[in-house]
Every structure is written in structure tokens, then in C-alpha cells.
Symmetry: C2
């Protein structure tokens, strides 16, 4: 059995709690929170513990799954708790991964712990597919499409406009661009060629509809270069129809092995719940972290460093017999 602790009980933490129930070799023993433990309603028999007491669980927990945010939680929490526990996080600020890796690696190595960072689907499963496909087809082009799903950054950008009460922005892959890539024509496509931006906006009373639509559509970086669709709706409608946590996307590599011989590798995800899927990836890698710790392979790791066999609750003989 792998004994799991969860740090942080938001969407991701709840997803991990759920996912552990699907894995018979794992046991959730404690949920650590910055809130008052009495205030947490959880969906399992785990103990709810104040984060101040986390050190007492040093010898009880095999892997701590850190379910904080990438902006301010994880850069502090992951290196800190890698001193005490084997840890996993879903750090997803791509540009800062090398720095985060170094910090976590130092603290994990000094304390003989395993720390797997940037686990999820992008970074995570999408990254794996980029790497495998690049290794197989060294001469080719990569394409990543995101969506359909809500982009938090773009929704926030709309909310910052004066007169906007609330907003959700969906990133939607352009179907014709997907088809062009699938055809093996190796097109040159920028992010804006690949995606449409659809916005659902709730106005404050008296706000100027046309002016706000104009402000959204001309916002540099976020919307100006894109096909942007703006809908104005009521707060009730937004709450009812746009609290969706569905997401997904596509990773392609298209490349030649000789003059007229092209190959297209496509990986795609269609997720009813972004946080629940990410949680399930975290749990699979928590299993790997425990096994790697038993083998004393200490230090920071990413999905690139981990052989697939470590992820699954089956023996090597079983997987060779049933999955190869």
C-alpha cells in the first residue's frame, strides 16, 4: 500500500481524494489544510489536519501530493515539503520549470526524497507525447491545440475591464487547422491560426456594451490577433451554463522519414473535468514516486525521467502479457 497525504483541498485535492478510491494499492491517510480543519467537509475517511502539524506525519506518509497553485503556492511548498516527504506537484508555469526543478532537486537530494514536478496533462501527458514523437520523427513539426476549455488567464483579462462584472473565455481549436495538420501537409500555424476565442461576459449595470466588446476584441496579446466572439449574458446564465471544467486538446507531430513518406502522430484528450483528470495523473505518478523512493532513486524528476512501468498497479509480467 502507498500511503498518501494531500496538501490543499480545492478542486485538485478533491480530485486526488476521489482518484485514490479507484486505486486499490493506495490509501489516503491525511488531508492537510491551511484552513481550520473543522471547517473541511471531505469525501473520505482521511484525517483532516492543520498544515502546522504536517511534520508529525513524516514517517506515516509515503507520498505527499501537493495540490496548490503554480503562481505562489508550489514554488514555496514543493521545495519545502521535499525536505520531509516524497512529493508530487502539478507546477504548470512552463517558463519557470527549470528554476523550480533546480530548487526542488536540491532539497529532495539533500534529504533523500523523490520529488516529481509538473505532473498533469500539459505539462505532463502532452509533454510525453511531444518527446516520444520527436524522438521517433526527428525531422518534422509539432502542433499543440488546446480546448475546448476555459482559459483562466483570458477570463481574468476580461474581468479586469471596467464595466465587466464576470466573464468566461473558451479557447476553441479551429477545425480546419486540425484537418490541415492531420492531412500531413505540415502547415505553418501560429497560436492564433489554431484557436478561436469565445467570450461570455456579464456587464455591470449601465456599462457600455459596444465599447467593452471593442476593448476585448482589440486587447493586445490576449485577443487582438484572434478570431474573437463576444456574447453578453446574465450572471445567472453564466453561473448555470459556464461553470464548466471540461477541457482537452491535441498534440501532433507530423514528419517525414524519406522524400514522399510522411507520418502523423496524434494524441488527444477530451476531458469532462480538467481537475479530476489532472488528479488522476498525479495519483499514478505518486505510485511511481513511492517505488522510486524504495529504489533510492532520489532527487527531482519529471515525467521524462520515469519509466512507464512505475505508474501502474500491475506486475512487469502482467503488463508484458496483457498490454504490450
Amino acid at each position: 500500500m502507498t500511503k498518501i497525504g494531500i496538501l490543499g483541498y480545492g478542486n485538485l485535492g478533491r480530485g486526488v481524494e476521489n482518484s485514490i478510491k479507484q486505486n486499490s494499492d493506495m490509501e489516503l491517510v491525511a488531508i492537510f489544510t491551511r484552513r481550520n480543519p473543522q471547517d473541511l467537509k471531505i469525501n473520505s475517511n482521511a484525517k483532516v489536519v492543520s498544515i502546522d502539524e504536517i511534520e508529525q506525519w513524516k514517517d506515516v506518509i509515503d507520498v505527499l501530493i501537493i495540490c496548490g497553485g503554480s503562481a505562489s503556492d508550489l514554488p514555496v511548498q514543493t521545495p519545502k515539503y521535499a525536505q520531509i516527504f516524497n512529493v508530487i506537484d502539478s507546477f504548470d508555469t512552463h517558463a519557470k520549470i527549470p528554476e523550480h526543478f533546480e530548487n526542488v532537486d536540491k532539497s529532495a537530494k539533500e534529504n533523500n526524497k523523490v520529488a516529481i514536478i509538473s505532473v498533469g496533462w500539459d505539462p505532463g501527458m502532452f509533454s510525453l507525447n511531444r518527446l516520444y514523437a520527436n524522438a521517433i520523427l526527428p525531422e518534422g513539426s509539432d502542433y499543440t491545440f488546446w480546448g475546448k476549455g476555459v482559459s483562466q488567464g483570458h477570463s481574468d483579462a476580461i474581468r479586469r475591464i471596467e464595466g465587466v462584472q464576470d466573464a468566461k473565455q473558451y479557447t476553441i481549436p479551429v477545425e480546419s487547422a486540425l484537418e490541415l495538420v492531420r492531412s500531413g501537409k505540415n502547415p505553418s500555424l501560429s497560436t492564433k491560426d489554431k484557436h478561436i476565442r469565445e467570450c461570455f461576459v456579464v456587464l455591470k449595470e449601465g456599462a457600455d456594451k459596444e465599447k467593452i466588446e471593442q476593448q476585448i476584441k482589440t486587447m493586445p496579446n490576449y485577443f487582438a490577433d484572434y478570431t474573437t466572439i463576444v456574447h453578453f449574458i446574465s450572471q445567472e446564465e453564466l453561473n448555470k451554463n459556464h461553470s464548466a471544467i471540461a477541457h482537452g486538446g491535441f498534440v501532433f507531430r507530423s514528419g517525414k522519414t524519406s522524400d514522399n513518406t510522411n507520418h502523423v502522430i496524434e494524441y488527444s484528450l477530451k476531458l469532462d473535468s480538467n481537475p479530476e483528470f489532472t488528479s488522476s495523473v498525479l495519483v499514478a505518478y505518486a505510485r511511481a514516486a513511492h517505488k522510486l523512493a524504495q529504489e533510492k532513486q532520489f532527487g527531482a524528476k519529471t515525467v521524462f525521467d520515469i519509466a512507464p512501468k512505475y505508474l501502474i498497479n500491475k506486475t512487469n509480467e502482467e503488463i508484458r502479457k496483457t498490454m504490450l
Copy 2:
């Protein structure tokens, strides 16, 4: 540099020779053949050497890529040459993989060699995708579709019918079955629900068309349970239009993480050349074999045992920075 030897110069061997040219860290040094070396016209500067002299290359070659057939070549060759070289093969008789693994493992371990077996796309990339997806979604269903591509076994079965001169059989995925899986409905589908069989048949003079069509369509296991389409064509037409080596397929896993929350993971390949793609996978894993041998991780391995980082000609820092 990884110094490569190729054993066997058919479609697969030629594909490996080609693929090595796309990988700047690899050098093809020798092609070993059972034929008279003078008779081989090759597409590189490699030495062509009789298989009888292969032992002399023991200290020259880092990895031997064995490009023989799974029926009779590889069960003998891979364990034999794993005594002398680090080796890779594409053994694809799924049912016999456990036995092949044991044989190869014994000989590789006794001689401090790395031997990676069953490398390609199925087994190979499809297997990896089955494993990753099962680890993430333990409660769900797997679906593998093959094609569109020629099935050698089914083509052979038609050729064995009296009155048939030549034949090619295409396995074609059923579009509506693909869509049903993509929808997340988790349908129960047998192999016959998922595939159509289209046959192009050349008759011998005087052969009975209707009788042969009947014999094909009612052939147990191969065709009887399938939607089977039979076309009679001339030998010229078969040679001209049906020497295709294109292939591909789809691997899905569809599963729930909670009651109304389903996820669909899809991986697909669209290959202009089955042997060239397989060769490219072999070459990527040859790189891994060389690195693993340098780390003294001896014994037989499959794609499940190998961390993705070993496959690519980039440093760990580079892949974290550019692909994660």
C-alpha cells in the same frame, strides 16, 4: 556517437539505414546479411558483411538492430546475438512475448548486454499508450483499431484458396465505431464491430469467381464474422495500386473518474510507410539501449521499462526547457 549494426536488409533494415541519417548522434557502421554481401545494393557508406563474420564486430558496434521476421528469425536471433551485442528487435507475436522476453533476458543478463524487444508501433507506441492511459484511468475501457492498412495474415489466407493467384486485404476501421468511442459512451465492441475487411483478389485463369468470393466471405475467424468486401482485379492493377505499405490505427481509453465525469484519451498514427515508421522507433530505442548499457542496466527490456528521456538526442535540461 552510437555505432549501429543492422542485421537483415529487407524493408525494415532499409528503413533503419534511412532513419539513422536523420539522427546526428548515430552512425551506421555495418549491415550484416545472410546473402552474398556483393549482391546487396545499399543506400549508405556502411560496410556490408556476411553474417558469418558478425562476431568480429563485437567491440565495434554499440547496438545491433535485428530486422528479421517474428515467425522464425527473431526467436533464434535475438537471444543469440544478445550474447555478443546490445540488441533491439521488433518481435510482434503478442502471445509469445513473455517466452521471448525470458529467453532474451537470460542471454542478455549472462553477458552484460541490454536487449530491448518488441519495439515498433504495435507492440510499441500503442502498448505505451495503453499503459499510460490505464494507469491514469483505472476504471474504463480500452479500444484498439487498426488500419487502414494491409494485413499480411489475411492476405495470405486468401492466397491459400484454390484458384487465387494473388491478393491483398485491407483492414479498415469502422468510422461509426470510432465516433461512438470518441463520444465517451464506452460501448462494447468486438474486433468485427470495429473493422471492415476489403479484399483485392487476382484469379487464376478459369477460376470460379462466385465460388471464391463465397469462400472468402465465409472463412471462419478471418472473414466470416466481418463485413467483407471483395474486388476482383488484374495482377497489373494489384501491383500498381496495392503495393501500399501505408498503415496506422487508433488506441483509445475511455473512463470515468466520478459518476458523470468521463474522459477520452486517443492516440492515433497515420503512416505512409509501416516499415519506415517502425524503423524510426527502433532507432530511437537503439539510442536508449546504448545509454542503458553505459549505465550497466543489463537484461531484457520492453518499452515499458525505459524512461522517455533515454530516447531523444537532447540533454535533460533541454527537454525540460523546451518540451515539458
